[in-house]
Symmetry: D3
Subunit: 164 residues, 6 copies
């Protein structure tokens, strides 16, 4: 059974030493969602085909947040991100009033630790931005669940989440 | 039907003018959760009664993130936060293997716009930090759902989420 | 003849004391421009009526930069911005091959110092972002001139630039 | 005809994947200027030979801004800068009342993307800081034009701006 | 005996609620020092009367750091600083080879909590910057002691350190 | 006699060019201390064996500050830190009323410049955080002296401070 690696012998947290780890290409894909009401769904969608665009702002926020991950997550190592992409998809079912925006963030680097946190942070801040821009219409919006979909590279190798 | 206030007449986003809004005391409470496996639950809990403490790190991260909200969310107004508190609770049911950490962030200010985004950001980054410190043990951890529980102050008045 | 107020008696810079200044509504409008070739002009314009949009990204960057002004400009006082808007206009003359994007940033606050630097910073970073997103097509893009168009509020009163 | 590389297939912006690009030495030189009146010119110049020094502050601001470029420009890749230098020169012509400060920023790295944006950002923030420190004397100061003078390294090779 | 106010009832840290505190003018003065060898002392001093100037850079760093205090110190409330000044003095005694730079940072605000941390942070980062710029000459430089000299304003009233 | 390398030929500061330096493993150890009264010492110590913990917060602050070093120290090169650890020890002597917390920060990277500034910054901000969390009890707390204990790697080789 492995143990926490974030704590030093005094029981306090530390940023673990990764000097010995080698630089490899690493990717991570994270997903979250935003569950909203019909009115907001329609307004976002309509904007999306005009020039104003909630998703455009949210996407910029997500990408910028990926670059701030090590500044937000205390024990996270700084990394030079080499690519960040955020994709949107709608999961809509009128009968059950489900209007759900799916947000998928993909992050890539060449470095000595993985980019799971960067992908999760990008997705989370992207969703928070959607919330911010729509909260005047409905404060009942729900974000998440948020989880890692896939990661490649590094010693722990390939991870692929089973469909939930 | 109200309309989006974040867009200017060119259809682009803007930070809406709140010069005319008055400074009042405002609070917001947001909640998220971290669903983990039994091993991680036990390790976090045991730490919690020793001096090393995943939750202590996560809590510091959440509080610091609240202060960075306007730097993360593009159209969010900067605010002088006057109080931030993060509480943890466990929702554990052995039979169904549910080991869930509940995170509740409360933010308070005296200002001209609400602190919903600050509370949601604090809760989200707190959960991401728990994920970061435990991900070596299990990459299947799930964050959220994340939502606003309550807000007070401001023109839109009191909001209290119905139990879901 | 007034003297520099940013220097202390040792000849070093300081952030001047504004404790005695009163909080009033203050606005500032700054302008810059991006001079590009025809190909880039057409690509930006076409995007602008589809959903991908150089200007949407640049605008988000400009608004976020306004909030970072005191972090960028050493002697600038931190301020709680209450509104930021960025407008675009095209100044195009086919015969002389002038394809110029005009960027106008308007910033508003209620505080004890003006927001000229915030408006100038928003406009500048907005233009730099346009440059960044188009530089693969042409490295000869020119930004500026950048200048203050108007300011209101504060002891120095109203300033309005004569047309240049 | 090349196409925008900053957009994904959904038409939204992304940080382009540079994992395959190799690390080479890269330099960029950018230039801007600050056009001021005679009074400000004389005050800055006189300070320059005493110990208080507008240019010293502006230069520090420019160098620090170069390090923040990826935090300001949304689609810009983070880079480990290896050298930043800012030089000043005066272009003064009494007869035509031209008092212009020329600012030249040189940035160097060893990495997988160029440093044009870092040089342009350094020059821009350096000029904005000069403006900030002199604006109490004259709000009519003009910044720019701002442009890339030269770049070396990378696939696109050497670029050298023709004299304008 | 007063108790820690930074901890909530779960024993975790929190940013204490200061909503009820009133806005008053508050000042704080902090001091630190940098103990160096004769060579460095002479080089800094000589620069100081030319235009290049270690102290000018250190001072800018200290002022900018004051503005970042709430971003560095987890439980520190954000504050709108209204004035920051850093003064240098030399304490030199050739016989005992004491070459000590004294750094005094004064911070002022009008707000609901004190500015002790801002003054201490400004002084500390100013000293660290002197260290950074001189460390190629001697790694044995010593910073501090660092302490609060005086504070005014707020419920706890006036504090003035006895000469040590 | 070596000369300052942080100044360009105009006498202004610059970030020195390290393009030619090779990437090697580098470590630095810095130390500071916090001198407090008996009451604070006892409160911190007692917390330390319960779950609330001044040192846990201070340690997180120190680690996060290490990652911000290049943002705080103007001429400091950005670096990808690969490990940060902060250790605490008490130096207590009841008879002389000495209650001193020793803070030792160790930083590691693989890069082209040393990590002395990162270790010194981590130790300093860690100490400032202890101050912040205890200042309601006593404003007479003293931080430091702060100094480099050891460094390895790089052209200048091994440095080890003699016991003071």
């Amino acid at each position: 059974m492995s143990s926490f690696t974030h704590f030093n012998e005094q029981g306090h947290a530390k940023m673990v030493d990764i000097t010995e780890k080698t630089d490899t290409v690493r990717t991570a894909v994270a997903r979250t969602s935003v569950m909203m009401n019909k009115e907001i769904y329609e307004k976002i969608s309509n904007r999306a085909i005009q020039k104003g665009d909630v998703l455009a702002v949210a996407q910029v926020a997500g990408i910028m947040a990926a670059k701030k991950t090590a500044d937000l997550i205390p024990m996270c190592h700084p990394l030079m991100l080499r690519g960040v992409d955020i994709q949107f998809a709608w999961d809509v079912e009128e009968q059950t009033s489900r209007y759900q925006l799916l947000i998928t963030a993909t992050v890539k680097t060449k470095g000595s630790t993985g980019v799971e946190m960067e992908a999760l942070t990008a997705a989370s801040v992207c969703a928070l931005t959607v919330y911010d821009m729509c909260k005047a219409l409905d404060k009942g919006i729900i974000i998440g669940p948020t989880y890692l979909v896939e990661k490649t590279g590094g010693k722990s190798g390939h991870f692929r989440r089973e469909d939930k």
